[in-house]
């Protein structure tokens, strides 16, 4: 068994798919994985694939032309997931996709399609939940910042929503775990950037701790629940404890 490995970015993954495909070793004899590799297996050869923009672009182009744009979206979301086997799932899906074309998206009973759909669903759901539960904090200089710690890398799915919603505001959303941020200066397009340790600390010092609307919101949130209908289980089903980490109303 040959195992192709690459770093955990879209370009790297697409290059890896290109090289694995071109190796002609037989699809059942290879596997694809993203780094870091946890446990090394016996009787396997690990081959690291370095990034190559041209190869990545050609894979993306073929997915869009030979399968469909929605298939590419599905692959993209899957690539942003935190699942360890996602790259192999994408590869198996593409094998089928290049044979059947656009129709592959409906072949839900096939194991390869099933698993990519499951991951896709998880990522979509998570990005939707963060659309709901992301909270901005007012900062000095009329800037809004939000901190999130999502499992999947959903920043690029979140940003267009807020770009449309608050086009004339300065805001940024920071992924605390990955140290990446989407920055949106007023009336311009947003961009993706990574933050250094130092920038990270400077940002936390700029928070406006005397923001009156935080207290108003917490108070409103406490008031709006009906005591006679109190139902913590239902509340937990809708907003699991895990998502409350940065939600203003759940902070003490």
């Amino acid at each position: 068994m040959i195992i192709y490995t690459c770093e955990d970015t879209l370009e790297d993954m697409m290059t890896c798919i290109y090289d694995a495909w071109a190796s002609k070793l037989g699809h059942q004899n290879i596997r694809l994985m993203t780094e870091p590799i946890g446990n090394l297996e016996l009787f396997c050869e690990y081959r690291h694939v370095p990034v190559n923009t041209q190869k990545a672009e050609s894979v993306i182009r073929s997915i869009q032309n030979k399968i469909s744009f929605s298939a590419y979206q599905c692959v993209y979301r899957c690539a942003m997931s935190c699942e360890t086997n996602k790259l192999d799932v994408i590869y198996r899906f593409l094998l089928l996709g290049f044979t059947y074309g656009a129709g592959v998206m409906d072949m839900l009973q096939h194991p390869a399609v099933m698993s990519i759909f499951e991951i896709n669903r998880k990522v979509t759901n998570e990005s939707h939940l963060f659309r709901e539960f992301t909270r901005f904090i007012s900062m000095k200089g009329n800037v809004l910042t939000a901190h999130i710690e999502p499992k999947s890398d959903i920043l690029t799915m979140l940003a267009p929503h807020f770009q449309d919603r608050m086009p004339s505001e300065n805001w940024m959303i920071i992924d605390d775990n990955r140290r990446t941020a989407v920055v949106h200066p007023k009336d311009t397009d947003y961009y993706l950037t990574s933050l250094s340790q130092e920038e990270f600390h400077r940002l936390s010092n700029l928070e406006d701790t005397a923001d009156p609307y935080v207290a108003l919101w917490k108070n409103f949130f406490q008031t709006i629940g009906i005591k006679e209908r109190k139902n913590p289980t239902c509340q937990r089903n809708h907003i699991p404890l895990w998502y409350r980490k940065h939600a203003t109303e759940f902070q003490l």
């Binding site: 059947y100 129709g103 409906d106 072949m107 839900l108 009973q109 096939h110 194991p111 099933m114 759909f117 499951e118 669903r121 659309r131 709901e132 539960f133 992301t134 909270r135 901005f136 904090i137 007012s138 809004l144 939000a146 807020f162 449309d164 919603r165 608050m166 086009p167 004339s168 505001e169 009336d187 609307y213 207290a215 108003l216 919101w217 108070n219 409103f220 949130f221 406490q222 008031t223 709006i224 629940g225 009906i226 005591k227 006679e228 209908r229 109190k230 139902n231 913590p232 289980t233 239902c234 509340q235 089903n237 809708h238 907003i239 939600a247 203003t248 109303e249």
Partner: protein, 515 residues
């Protein structure tokens, strides 16, 4: 009436007026897609976005507040009735605008839900609300979702003007029959509620016709695969009063600006009495580009809704559900909400103060409401005069399926979409997935499970390639027993959200219960 204090802080006002508004059910922000635009704040998403969930598990999507909790009416069930001794207060339009803008920027809310007690009279109240919305849209450039309550008996012109600023309007039915309305809400009449509802419906239809859509609201896209849903039954009532835009009486405003300059007499100008900058001065700040000057201004694009109280009077589920169906058919409502009665006041006409809210009944009604809107059921399929209430143990669809066992088991690989929807446990998403995927190959129970189709209930009613999942007898008693066993806990949980549960060795003991 309680004392009228003007010196409350905005925090205190928010607490009082949110507390008074919380019994309103509708907190949805759905029904309209609107792109954001440069210079203003907000957009809108047709699926709706919840931003948090309160301690009762209900979603917090909109900033749900009253403009004022002063009220001249004395509806028996209401917290704000005039005979209750409470602190009364009123938001100024600026206060509401600021709260909405600042909350929205921080992604706390999806928009505003504005209701109000009746201050002085319906006209005065409605004016105050209009001023708030006008300011929010035109001075603060808020482009997010607005749901506003129409006050019964408010003048038609005001309702119309407010409709051009809001996304959704609603008028509470409160109680499904005239008799109980007379008993519990002596100042309201069914006519006073239905008249504005009809007016809004006609205006919506007129707007939809001018932009080239069907006069009736869109329903779930999957309804086109169904035949005989409640929405396509004969439109006797609609046809007679449908509004067709004839040249003679069209006053369709082309934009905010044009409305006011054209109509000349702004219904508000004469009667503004608060110390706010009046509409005239606001008018100059309205910015409209050439493009939207001549496109019609949307009128309540997300449609209207209503709500009914469950359990305060003696109506049965059948009456409630047929009323619901009639409201959908005759008034083209987008949603009907139910609110389990929470005892707030002591009154001989009301249930006693220690009644618990009928949460399970409310839950069953919502289940049935979904069956009407998405599954092609009619009220008469689910209930009848002989069997006027829902089964406590089974959800309405299971209950229906058990009475129609002749249709089952159904072959998943062959049954059409409309039939699949009748299977308990299969919803519109699952049915769609089945229909799409079986084109490329046979389905098995394993495949169904992996596709995300829940077989807990469905397994009693379906076959895959001619076989059932287990050897199950298609026998009413047997299946009923099985289903009740499985659903018993969840039904109990709905009715008793915080009461007793079975002790668990692992969850309850590890926290050191015996220390």
């Amino acid at each position: 009436m309680g004392d009228l204090r003007k010196s409350l802080s905005i925090g205190e006002k928010l607490e009082i007026l949110a507390d008074a508004a919380k019994y309103d059910v509708a907190c949805t922000s759905s029904g309209v897609n609107r792109k954001g635009k440069s210079g203003s704040l907000g957009n809108s998403c047709a699926a709706g976005i919840c931003h948090s969930f309160a301690s009762d598990g209900r979603c917090v999507s909109l900033l749900k507040i009253l403009q004022s909790n002063e009220c001249v009416y004395d509806c028996k069930y209401c917290l704000n009735r005039s005979s209750n001794d409470r602190i009364r207060t009123t938001f100024t339009p600026e206060e509401v605008c600021q709260l909405v803008m600042e909350f929205y920027r921080r992604n706390y809310i999806e928009g505003l839900f504005l209701s109000s007690g009746v201050v002085k009279n319906p006209t005065y109240t409605m004016e105050l609300m209009y001023r708030t919305l006008y300011m929010l849209r035109n001075q603060y450039h808020f482009n997010g979702y607005i749901h506003v309550k129409a006050i019964p008996n408010a003048p038609g012109e005001l309702i119309e003007q407010i409709g051009y600023l809001a996304d959704r309007m609603s008028i509470n039915m409160e109680l499904p029959t005239e008799d109980s309305l007379k008993k519990l809400a002596p100042h309201k009449t069914q006519n006073g509620i239905l008249k504005p509802m009809e007016q809004i419906q006609n205006r919506i239809a007129a707007y939809r016709l001018t932009i080239g859509k069907d006069a009736r609201m869109e329903r779930s896209a999957s309804n086109r695969y169904l035949s005989g849903t409640i929405f396509e039954s004969p439109r006797k009532n609609i046809a007679s009063n449908i509004y067709t835009p004839s040249r003679a009486n069209t006053q369709l405003p082309v934009s905010y600006e044009k409305t006011f300059t054209q109509s000349g007499t702004n219904p508000l100008q004469s009667s503004i009495s608060l110390s706010q900058p009046d509409i005239n001065s606001l008018q100059h700040q309205v910015t409209s580009t050439k493009a939207d000057k001549y496109s019609p201004v949307p009128f309540v694009p997300a449609g209207q809704s209503t709500q009914m109280i469950i359990g305060a009077t003696s109506e049965n589920d059948y009456q409630l559900l047929t009323t619901t169906q009639r409201l959908y058919q005759q008034f083209d409502l987008k949603r009907v909400f139910y609110s389990a009665y929470v005892p707030l006041n002591e009154d001989s006409a009301l249930p006693s103060l220690d009644t618990t809210p009928p949460l399970l009944r409310e839950h069953r009604l919502y289940q049935a409401d979904w069956l009407l809107r998405y599954y092609g059921f009619h009220a008469d399929d689910l209930l009848s005069a002989d069997k006027p209430n829902f089964n406590v143990f089974l959800d309405p669809k299971c209950d229906w399926a058990l009475r129609h066992l002749e249709l089952f088991p159904m072959e998943v690989n062959k049954a059409d979409y409309a039939d699949l929807l009748k299977v308990p446990g299969i919803g519109i998403k699952s049915a769609m997935r089945i229909v799409n995927s079986r084109r490329s190959g046979q389905l098995t129970f394993d495949a169904l499970k992996k596709m995300g189709i829940v077989l807990k209930r469905a397994k009693y009613f379906i076959t895959c390639q001619g076989k059932m999942m287990y050897s199950i007898r298609i026998q009413e008693d047997f299946i009923t027993r099985q289903l009740i066993g499985e659903d018993y806990k969840s039904s109990w949980d709905v009715e008793h959200p915080t009461t007793y549960k079975q002790l668990s060795l692992f969850d309850d003991m590890k926290k050191g219960a015996f220390q």
